[in-house]
Symmetry: C5
Subunit: 351 residues, 5 copies
């Protein structure tokens, strides 16, 4: 379960508060400006260094990595006329993916999923502000840069990357984020595959725990992928004019990927539910089996023990005790009882 | 389960009846008038004292705390031309959150959730009447004032609060109410977290009771949050003109919060269902385990007891009793039986 | 389960057949004509007596109580130009609530729910024909008059009742019918409350039966309330012009009530499902508990009985029998076994 | 489960193949022509005999009973310009009810449900082609004529039947088919009623089998009624002009019937699910009960048997054996054990 | 579970990568050109050989079987102006069926289902590019040609095949693919039928495994059929003008087939769920039965064994042992106990 983050009830809207674990950390600001012919890359020391990027015809991409400095956001916000609520969203970690339309900007908030070193599923919030000629990205965690492949493609100028405008760049960045769903879905699929193999083995609570963990991971992932799909659908049908028709098929492709992931997650959910059902069913079949053995034993030995008990009594007058073949007769009786019981069980198909 | 409140079948519509527990309690009426430059605050002794507020260009906010006096409502209603059905709604405690459009007013009814001193989830009904230049609020419970933070922000003139008109005030008030969902959702999340830890422990009905309580709380909360979301969606897409475009992004933000809370509640519901499932599964696995031990014991000792029973019989002619190594032979037979049984159980993986 | 009523397959449509239990019973016909200034009330001997009511400007309300006379309906139908299918609907008891639009009439069919003397949930079909200047109502069961409170309000001229036209009258009548859902929902809520208290008690099939009865009642009620909601939604958005804008807020209010009832029913359904789940869970926990006791007893006494069985054997040479402390040694062995078992159970947390 | 019928993969569309069980059977062709004044009825030997029916102003109804002759269909198809896919649909038994729009025809395919002599639920496919002045019907099974009541009403000229045109005839025929759902739903309802009575009796697998059969019947019926409802909804909102406004209220009435049947089926489904739940619950309650008895017996007799075992031992020195009141003391001990056990069980509420 | 295929996160969009198992395999390219009068068929050695087909008025169908050569796709793509994302889709095996609109082309991707030699359900991806005068098809697996029946119909000129244009050809090809669902659905239906017969037999985990396999197959099939239905619905309502009105009824027919298959799959899903339920229920009924036998035995023999134990005690003074009829009295007591127990069980209906 993720930590719930919220402002104190009564806090004024659009209050900017740095996430507690990042307080004091200086964000890394990178600027890329490019058009079809040239590309320029720079790491800015101060946020003001990137402000002139609006003055040329190139596409500008400002990447802010780390959310530790409210001032940077405020200045960026003022210069690029970002709505204060969008800035607040950038800082509020753990939100639901969404796209918000502002006057001439689209604000897109995503959750990137990945497995951390311990194999646990974690999320990193990535926000994206798409304007006419620029894209501003905000990454929650400084250091580990999810956008590197895009940067590389831009530098090498391969594919469409450099010929197209800021909307295609935004697409490429979104695509880079959503691509991370695939390896996770794959690892979940393998875990399920494995569980299906062992589901009929001896019941043990640890298995339940594993299924439970899987279920939680699936749930978290779903909560992130579903709204991502909605975002992509909305971008595809964009009517603000910020997304050009040339970019839309690519967004549709990304949307198809999201649908595919959702489809797989649904099938995994079904599979996990089935595993749980199978597991419980196999528990009750095993209980039934154990009960049958117990009953068999009880049915055979209860009468026998009773019989031998009878002749262990110390009555003075028990004629059978003095018969010549008494002992053998008792044995015969007991064998007969056993045979009858076994036949009965055979009939009932309990054997 | 909340108490159901309704008028006797056949009662005329729009009949104003004070909630029984508030009969005779005088409501507290507060008036705030403000514009960008000034703010004036007053506690009114009589409801008529606030009527002149309509005569200036300032935004007026009339807050009625406590529902004990029908006359106050009637007079307010007449002066501000409130529809009688809206007044009736104000007085009928425990309603579903809703927004009703009247000629040039929006009537908004909310349920504020909070944990009372004993930790139980309770609701307070808060109604809100938004007109062109005024907002009238009605709080169910006098004394404890949920709107204090808004009052404070108005006084201090921080943020947008004073620059904007009555619709933004309405937003701020709604936001103050809906913000209260977060701490409750958080405490529910923690309770669930805790339950997940103890779910594989020894089964006990008390745990079921806890899960049941949690489930009820989730359900009550859902019933309150879902309609709140609908209200916010409708305000966002408002077409009466009472909500200005400048306020709408803030309402969308509030709507996003509601969606987020709903999302969390759904995930908690799923988690509680899983806990219940896990708990029951662990009960049947434990039963299976107990059964295996029982069967093991029965399978080993039934034949042994039978054997020793045989040689406890008092037949005159039982040759074995007189054999030299009879006693030892019996021991060997019994050890053999035990070994066979253990091997059988090992094979069946019951051991 | 309600009795299913239908015409023989192949019957011509719009065939009027009196419900079998009412054959020969003469319906009671009451006429009220009113406007803002005056009201006139009359019980008609023959249906023709009410026909002149169309000739004045007053609102006329004709109430037919009892469905025993096809001729009455036919004549009414001819005079007021009622569609034959509407007349057929009036006579076919047990239908789904619905609203049908005819040329200049709205035909509304409702099911009024109430508990009969034995506490069982029963339904009475009430139909309503709304024309420009008149309302005709048909009640299934003569005698017990659900519309009395409306009649009283009309007579006393209190509220809006007399100032408004036939559509408001129709609303008031519908409201009188739907108000009857509340006391029933309340009694169901109390029954559920009570069940939740006793759910962890000793399992017994009678409890299941109670839950089952409750479930059935909830289901029947739902089947009646849901379509009522749809009717109200449709009347609210009426485009025939038969419902005036002044009446619509009242209908919306009634609609809100229906939503509220539905909301409660859903929460009760959920609660009943939970009770069922809890009950079954508590059964399996109890079974587990019983099993643990059984196994404990078996594990302790099986070895003990075996031990005492050994020294009950009659072998000639059993050295232990002649030892001085043999008997005490056996006791010590048996105490040791018991202690070991108890420790084992303690470890397994079965004790 | 119904037999699945399909053409070999790769077969050309609109291939006409006679259902195997009807090969070689000559269909019966009946023609009725009528207007408000006259009616003419005829059984045609050759399909060509009915072709002239288009030349007059009367409404023509051609009924083809039996699907054994492809030539008849081909000729009809050519003369009345029926789309080849519609003809293929007529011949493909077991399809989902549907309505297809062709240029100036509506093709309606229905499944009529009835119980065969053995009480099993079976379906007969009935197709209907509605043109401007004619209706052509195709019945799967020759002989048993579902349309007889309509024929009779036409002959007798009762009701609206003869005054109205082909669309009303089509309605009357559809109504005749859908009316057959009612008796079946009634018999299912009675079966459920009966099951609810016996659900708390001794568990037996046969009961499960009955519930299972009922479930299957409900499912099959649903699969037939739901699309029928859709057909009626579509006819009601018809925009081809083939259905006149005068006929539409009748279709709506038929639609209401379908809704009513669906409503009942849903409630039955719910009831069957409840019965299943109750049955399983009562099984586990009974198991719990049996377990309690078993445990009670074991708890009382295990210690007693142990005690008597002790004094059956043959140690030389067992002082108790020689005590004067030893025997009586043992009895007292055993009575004490029994009492303690009973009190314990009483406390645990297992008695 | 199918293998998940995806590109490395960060890969540029529209990157063409040959599926690993096909690397180096040369695809087979077949060209058919036809109009109503003539048909020409050719196997092309180089992809360039088919390029002239655009120059005449005939309908051209290019079939590429096997995906081993990226160059072929690139050249085709350039000549026919295929969007790079469509080409990427052709190569990415295992995708969700979909239809994408490009400027003057429709790209349709399908999954053909069939059972392989071992009876396992497998899928083959088939893509289809529909242009004004041409259709290009891509089959995943070279060799086994699913389109042979269509080819044959074209050659023979039977039906509509040759008179109609490329859209009808596309329909025929889609129909050829979707027809393969029927035999699989049929085999699944038979497997379910069989399972229903054996569900009340002795419980065994293998049966669970079979149900599980079936469930998986149903799930995979659903995932393929549902989007196929959506594709057909979209083609039916096509607004690009690529699908003519004459072809649309055929597509609707194909759509009806898809609906029918979905309908069956849903009913199978329901049936499988029922089988699972029944199976588990029969397990618990059997456990209950076994328990009853066990309890019966325990209840009868525990007291008896106790009684005989008493008289096996070696107390010096046990008066009963010396009574003349002591032994017979004990027998009578034991018979009495047995009778009482049996009567008790009879009463409880456990016998």
């Amino acid at each position: 379960m993720q930590k719930l983050r919220y402002h104190e009830p009564g806090t004024a809207p659009a209050t900017l508060i740095v996430p507690p674990e990042q307080v004091g950390q200086k964000p890394v600001i990178k600027l890329i400006e490019y058009d079809a012919h040239s590309i320029e890359e720079r790491e800015a020391q101060n946020v003001e260094d990137v402000f002139e990027c609006l003055d040329n015809k190139k596409v500008s991409w400002i990447d802010v990595s780390g959310l530790g400095d409210v001032e940077v956001l405020r200045k960026l916000g003022r210069h690029f006329r970002v709505h204060p609520l969008a800035l607040e969203d950038v800082l509020t970690i753990g939100q639901r993916p969404k796209v918000d339309e502002y006057d001439d900007q689209l604000f897109i908030l995503l959750q990137m999923a990945y497995n951390d070193e311990t194999g646990r599923l974690v999320f990193e919030q990535v926000s994206l502000l798409l304007g006419k000629e620029y894209v501003i990205t905000f990454q929650e965690i400084p250091g580990d840069d999810v956008f590197d492949p895009v940067r590389k493609r831009l530098r090498e100028g391969c594919g469409n990357a450099r010929f197209m405008r800021s909307d295609y760049l935004a697409y490429a960045l979104i695509d880079a984020v959503t691509d991370h769903f695939f390896p996770i879905v794959e690892s979940l699929g393998e875990a399920i595959e494995e569980m299906q193999e062992t589901v009929f083995d001896q019941p043990a609570p640890e298995k339940l725990r594993d299924v439970h963990e899987l279920r939680k991971a699936l749930f978290l992932l779903r909560r992130s992928v579903w709204p991502t799909r909605d975002i992509l659908a909305r971008l595809w049908r964009d009517e603000t004019g910020l997304i050009t028709d040339r970019t839309k098929p690519f967004i549709r492709d990304c949307y198809d990927n999201a649908i595919y992931v959702i489809d797989l997650l649904e099938s995994y959910r079904d599979a996990v539910r089935n595993i749980m059902d199978l597991y419980l069913s196999s528990v009750s079949i095993r209980t039934n089996e154990v009960m049958r053995v117990l009953t068999l034993i009880a049915c055979i030995f209860s009468p026998l023990t009773f019989v031998v008990g009878i002749y262990g009594m110390n009555f003075e007058r028990m004629p059978e005790l003095h018969w010549k073949y008494g002992y053998i007769a008792v044995w015969l009786v007991m064998i007969a009882i056993t045979v009858v019981m076994l036949v009965y069980f055979k009939r009932k198909k309990w054997l």
